[in-house]
């Protein structure tokens, strides 16, 4: 009886259809969670991929864990934010703690052989060499800026998140988003400058 959804229940504005699926999951229909996974797997995967040093396996693992932890705590989701905002926040938190674990592990590796820690564990298949080369360089540059800067650059410049949504995800004011993004770009620019085309460089 109490599994039926209540038709008079107010739907939060701009929550889209995600909210309906969340409600189903909250009422015990775990299969409904699949729709949410399907809709958001690519963005979450890419977010994790960029935050975790461009490591495909790590990103795969992280994506699974992010969705699992979202499923476990979905009862706490009240619909006062977008589901995507909520799950982005989980993904960023997860990535940041995973990064710390990896960083301590990589420190040891680097100390031993002095090699570049980027992508050492999963060499990418050399399909499109040029494209992968740029990706590697961009990723390497991203790995070198602070977590705070990487986070905002990935969100806004790579995932296309708006300033406002980024503010909601990170729990900071929009003005802080602006300044942090600007500082992040300025920190990243010198690392990427050699790869701007001549035309871009003026």
């Amino acid at each position: 009886v109490n599994r039926e959804s209540n038709p008079i229940e107010p739907q939060p504005a701009e929550a889209g259809n995600d909210w309906e699926w969340v409600r189903k999951v909250q009422k015990g229909d775990s299969a409904a969670f699949e729709t949410l996974v399907r809709r958001h797997q690519k963005t979450i995967f890419n977010l994790a991929y960029r935050m975790l040093g461009g490591n495909y396996e790590e990103a795969t693992e992280a994506t699974q864990e992010v969705f699992l932890s979202a499923f476990r705590s979905i009862g706490q989701f009240r619909g006062d934010a977008n589901f995507s905002t909520w799950i982005f926040r989980i993904a960023l938190n997860h990535s940041s703690s995973r990064r710390k674990t990896l960083a301590s592990r990589q420190l040891r590796t680097v100390a031993l052989d002095g090699s570049d820690p980027v992508d050492t564990r999963t060499p990418e298949p050399a399909t499109v060499v040029v494209e992968n080369e740029t990706r590697r360089l961009v990723q390497k540059a991203l790995n070198e800026v602070s977590d705070e800067h990487r986070e905002i650059l990935v969100l806004i410049d790579m995932q296309g998140t708006s300033y406002e949504d980024a503010a909601a995800i990170l729990g900071i004011p929009v003005n802080t988003v602006k300044t942090r993004l600007h500082r992040g770009r300025r920190a990243l620019a010198p690392k990427l400058a050699p790869y701007f085309s001549d035309r871009q460089r003026r």
């Binding site: 690519k42 740029t134 602006k178 990243l188 620019a189």
Partner: protein, 309 residues
Amino acid sequence: MNCNEIQERLSEYVDNRMNAEMSAVIESHLASCADCSEVFAHIAGTVRLLKAEPQVEPPMGLVTRVMAHVNDEPAKQSFWQRLFPSFGLNFSLQISAMVIVGVLVVFLYQKNHYSQPVSKPDEAERLAVHRDRDVPPAEIMELSPGQTLAPGHIPSGGQTQAGGDAAAGFDDRARTAVPVQPDAPDAGAAGRRADREIILRMSAPAGEGDALMAGATTKALSEPQSPAPSRQGLKTLHDARRRAVETGEAQSVWLEVPIEETERIRKEIGTLGTIESETVHRDELAVAASSDKSARIRVTILPPAAERK
């Protein structure tokens, strides 16, 4: 606008988040300033490179894999589903049950806490005392050796009847949450009753208890302004929690907490499970207004709600 101010706004300019007027100011400045133009080229070039990065395709079957994990999760049941697993009780019956339980709780509670000491304790009181005695006295003695910490016993000026060792002990305990023995004379009928009662439903099954405990203790220890925070108190709580898991029965613990620490300790208790109810007989202000230096918190720990095998 000087060059610094211009450069600070270049990201907004690149992102088209500027009104036409401001954009015009930036453009005319860039046309005549080589330094700012260089910064602009860097920011625009960076944004272009980042935006040009293609999205990476997640592995095939990721959704299936996630759902396999999801389906491995224990089914979530509502409180009422757990309480009445197979009867299929309808909602109004559940509400009735809830009202009856509520009335009983209020009845027992009033019996238990508002009756003055009388020659013969009534049933509810005996029940409560029995609960408290379920806590093995040995463990409590270990944690507050020899003495209870009823306020009258806290010495002023560090002076005690029992020498230097005891003075240090008292000093320490006065600052932290300390378990007290509920049935000791000072805490009994003639003493104070709890200022605050918390009923805590443990959130974790027994297996995860240790991790939780480690987490809570570490957290408590890492708080900078609270030297040796409720470590003892927490230990007692964890012991009680362990007993709750082992016996499947509710366990009661008394804590004596400095007034200013009450809120923090309360939060720490909250990390151990879900606070199902909290009754405040005297809030911190009221305790502070009295001559007492500390608040008494009685924590009742209920075993985890997960189905037992």
